[in-house]
């Protein structure tokens, strides 16, 4: 289901042989107005089946945990929302944890103070909280650009974090809030009115997340390919020009901001349903905002599925790697470096190029030794550069 929408202005897409292949003949059927080709169906089915198999397969390997994939999907959803801004309006939000955390806290507050026990209603509470925040903050930031937009969203994010940290009575400060009604004798929320055991709850909420994710992907696809989505692309390319052709730039950016905040709110509420306890450091802190942004970039922010893949990948690195090695942050950083330098369009975005390269090398095995040579040469050159610069810096030019 790689996304062909921006082939018009994305030069890279034109040179990509897989993208030009699609014509009207390849479309087998349309669902929700999305043309499904054989490739798309295959990718979609493979993805959904792989996700659905996780609860069955988790007994096979200790590192495969439903909880982690679940959280990865939640963060990925937030990254999907952020990607609406990043990909189309070209605005870098460094404060999306505000809506994720807002959603999580919305659910927790509804459970704590309104006595809501039903998971679906908790999600609704999270959406309301996330939307309210996005409406307010979006209205204030919609007119800003580039680094100012990034830093302003960051400031609001941290302001929210500071407010939660400072309010020990209502919002629980650093200790956070439980997502379970105090009065009722429940250990976890009910799902569609059913009281579930821990194992049932975990699997059913996981299926719920997959369902929500599919809905959000369809919504995103429709949104991106609508006239509204095109208008956002125009805004991203040149605001002045967009204004000249009659696009109400600020209002459109605001609307997009709110939509992406809603994604964050949904994701945050789902997160709260799984964790059953929300803490500001885990949901609202600015580093979480950075992670949401990096998930989108890691997966490939020029693609539809990239943020989801990036979400699962980065969540795995940040939560599971620490059980394998003490220096998990180092290896996470190393993997990110690897992506920055060798997969310049993110995991999903670089996939076609990598497949093409691998095919080429399968035909010409001699290429491999050339690759090794050029890589060795590159590293040697870099080290020389570094030594030279340091010498110049410390001792001046001789």
């Amino acid at each position: 289901m790689s996304d062909e929408t921006d082939a018009d202005h994305d030069d890279q897409a034109k040179s990509d042989p897989d993208r030009t292949a699609e014509t009207e003949d390849d479309v087998l059927f349309r669902l929700f107005k999305i043309p499904f080709t054989r490739r798309r169906i295959a990718v979609l089915l493979a993805g959904v089946v792989a996700l659905l198999l996780v609860p069955e397969l988790q007994h096979l390997h200790a590192d495969l945990r439903v909880r982690t994939v679940y959280l990865g999907l939640c963060w990925g959803m937030a990254a999907l929302g952020l990607n609406l801004l990043l990909r189309h309006t070209e605005l870098v939000s460094f404060g999306h944890a505000a809506y994720f955390g807002g959603g999580a806290y919305g659910a927790a507050l509804a459970a704590q103070y309104a006595g809501v026990q039903e998971a679906i209603l908790l999600i609704l509470a999270g959406i309301i909280a996330g939307t309210t925040l996005a409406v307010l903050i979006g209205w204030l930031v919609a007119g800003y650009l580039d680094i100012y937009f990034a830093l302003l969203t960051l400031a609001f994010n941290q302001l929210l974090f500071a407010i939660v940290m400072g309010s020990s009575e209502i919002l629980g400060s650093d200790d956070g809030l439980g997502v379970r009604p105090e009065a009722a004798d429940l250990t976890r929320p009910t799902l569609f009115g059913l009281e579930l055991t821990s194992a049932q709850y975990e699997v059913l909420t996981y299926y719920l997340v997959i369902g929500v994710l599919l809905v959000l992907l369809v919504v995103t696809w429709r949104l991106v390919n609508s006239p509204f989505g095109r208008a956002l692309d125009a805004i991203g390319q040149d605001r002045t020009r967009a204004r000249f052709i009659g696009i109400p730039v600020k209002r459109y950016v605001w609307i997009t901001f709110v939509i992406s905040g809603i994604y964050g709110g949904i994701a945050g509420a789902l997160y709260a349903l799984s964790m059953l306890h929300v803490r500001p450091g885990n949901t609202l802190f600015v580093i979480r905002s950075g992670e949401i942004l990096f998930m989108a970039i890691l997966g490939g922010f020029k693609t539809l599925l990239g943020p989801i893949v990036g979400g699962i990948a980065l969540t795995y690195m940040l939560t599971e790697l620490r059980f394998t090695t003490e220096f998990w942050e180092f290896y996470t950083g190393l993997l990110l470096l690897f992506v920055v330098f060798l997969m310049p369009k993110g995991i999903i975005g670089s996939l076609p190029a990598i497949v093409e390269g691998a095919r080429y090398r399968a035909r010409n095995p001699g290429m491999l030794s050339e690759d090794a040579d050029s890589l060795g040469g590159l590293i040697r050159e870099k080290l020389n550069d570094a030594v030279e610069s340091t010498k110049v810096l410390l001792f001046g030019v001789k």
Partner: protein
Amino acid sequence: MLEQSLLTPLFVDTIVDALPSWTLFVRQTLNGLFFGFILFMIATGLTIIFGVLGILNLAHGEFYALGAFLVFSVAGLLLGFVGPPTDWLSIAVFAVVALVAVLVAAAVLLPVSAVLETIFVRPIYDREEVYQLLLTYALLLMMVDVLLFFWGGQPRRLATVFSGINQIPTTELVGISYPSYNIFAILIGLLVFGFLIWFFERTKTGRIVRATAINREAATAMGVSSDRVFTLVFAMGGFFAGFAGALHGAGPISADVGMGIRPLVLSFVVIVVGGLGSIKGAFVGAILIGLASRWTIMIYPPAELAAPYAIMVLVLLLRPEGLYGTWGEIE
């Protein structure tokens, strides 16, 4: 490691209960100035790196942390030769050795950040800025574990310098008891500010850096190697962040692995309040943030965390270019 110390207070203050309100006010003001000067030294590097290279260096807080750990080791080594101070002369020797230790710790940051810049940052100047963010984030994560590898997960406290320097009476002369170390740190911070202004206004290298910031192509045409200027600026930023870390780590706080995050985020606040790329702005912003956060602790403690961000939001909404705009014409 990052998670643990996110929320621990960054600045451990002296105990301030049951004091007359005037003394309390003076103390918190001095705390705010000390806090502000440390922040200034971190933020100034961030702001010149952003101004010249156009990169928001997320690994900058780790330079500060590295400085704090280095001074722990370097001062521990050097002060072993001197021994604890007893009389006037030995206090003077002790102070000089401590200052040398701080400088040595910061100097290590020069080659470290220069190498990081040439190997990792230089290849991506032409890439989209989100990749630059991702790269510096990767460097942040890796540096955290480098610190963990060399110094371990336990906080490292260098108490000898702080208590040694505090034997020099300063504020006691006017009747207030306040750590002399912090007073000296404030004075050193002023010197750093003066040096930076002098460097960028008066020296040839400083002017070359500013010229590169204003127009890279024109500077290149004049024979300036922009690669070298970029390395120099990155290394300078690393040096001052390390200097701040060393000065802070030799003083009232202990060094721990996750200590780089909060100064980093507060430095964002500082450079935004002051104006991106402006050193004077970073100075005013840092002092403002320092004082505001210490004063709110005095008036209404729960608002301490929120105060800097509230200021940042106000400045961005009312005067987006910051208090001072920019000294180079940096877009």
